[in-house]
Symmetry: C2
Subunit: 216 residues, 2 copies
């Protein structure tokens, strides 16, 4: 808001943060940046993915979003957390009608860049690598959520919790003398909504895992 730097510089930073545009040259990044709209959301704000948004790709320039489903009685199921540099979009046409509504909530103050799909098409023409990048990124999301399906269906709460801890250990654990340290920036309730269970069950199963592991 206070930033009155030249438009081009600020925009340049925006697109360069985004992995899917990593193959673009500075000049191209600049072109992209001039195409995007910006939107800001404050912490806690709900971003309903709806009809008018199907025409854009949404890139997270700053902040963090949690995507989730909600049941009529208020229980939530987290699908993913997306951060700076990640992107998301909706299927075009009227396909969105087929599916139950996904919601997103801003966990911090968040800025999104909106790129119209018709503009994306032009970028694809100049730099097909961008298309491959987008494809690969969505495929990762797809595999991740497929794994969640299998997990919910084929494993009990303790197995899901153990698998989740293990995954966090391997991907973001730091080795310490006692073993491997994982910092879990999630409350019991948040873990529960990731794993499709309740806070009480997470608490109980976690205490069992304490017993069989060496240190907490």
């Amino acid at each position: 808001m206070m930033n009155i730097q030249p438009q081009k510089d600020a925009n340049h930073v925006c697109a360069s943060l985004v992995p899917i545009f990593s193959q673009l040259e500075p000049k191209q990044l600049c072109q992209v940046s001039n195409l995007v709209q910006r939107r800001s959301y404050s912490q806690g704000e709900i971003i309903a993915l709806s009809k008018d948004k199907a025409e854009h790709i949404y890139i997270i320039h700053k902040g963090q979003l949690r995507f989730f489903h909600e049941s009529p009685d208020g229980k939530g199921q987290t699908l993913y957390y997306l951060r700076q540099g990640d992107f998301f979009t909706e299927p075009g046409g009227n396909h969105f009608r087929k599916f139950s509504p996904v919601k997103a909530v801003a966990l911090e103050d968040t800025q999104l860049c909106l790129l119209h799909k018709s503009d994306l098409k032009r970028i694809l023409q100049e730099q097909p690598d961008v298309g491959i990048n987008i494809l690969e990124a969505i495929l990762l999301q797809l595999r991740q959520i497929e794994t969640l399906v299998a997990s919910l269906s084929l494993r009990n709460a303790e197995q899901r919790l153990a698998a989740w801890l293990y995954q966090r250990m391997t991907h973001s654990g730091t080795p310490v003398p006692q073993g491997i340290k994982i910092t879990v920036p999630f409350s019991r309730a948040e873990i529960a909504e990731l794993l499709g269970t309740t806070q009480e069950t997470v608490s109980r199963r976690l205490s069992l895992i304490w017993l069989t592991s060496i240190a907490r």
Copy 2:
């Protein structure tokens, strides 16, 4: 096997069946067709999605596949059924290691067309619409599987079954040029593996739904 028609004609049919190539002109379709490899699978054959396949896009030229996860004790969870004209692929790099293995089984004798991602990149350059088509198609898969996650987590068996029946009722058969009828086999066991439950539960809940509905 008996078909000894000129290569180009047969290939032409192949690519033209595929929605993601719908914007290509006949000449381009022909070019695409010359790039693809073919593979055949007989009914019941397992197509393990693995490392060496990450470099291709797989297009179903003929037949039907069921994608699923399997637990150590043999219970299965169906992710989707894919048919003629659908496509699938694996994330490149070493990302596949992060996820539990998805398997696919051929429900009929099936032919796949393999298109290398580097070739796809060239096609994208000439016809960026193809990129958009692929994006849209995967987004639909993503939303579909997200809905399954929510369903497994937030609904009980009866609600999942009812929702599935309703969905089949509203847009059951998708009419295809050739008049391919959806003969996806739906025994109680298969419904169970779609909805993440058991045959017995499907049978029981179904009989309850009979009572409250008008006719079977």
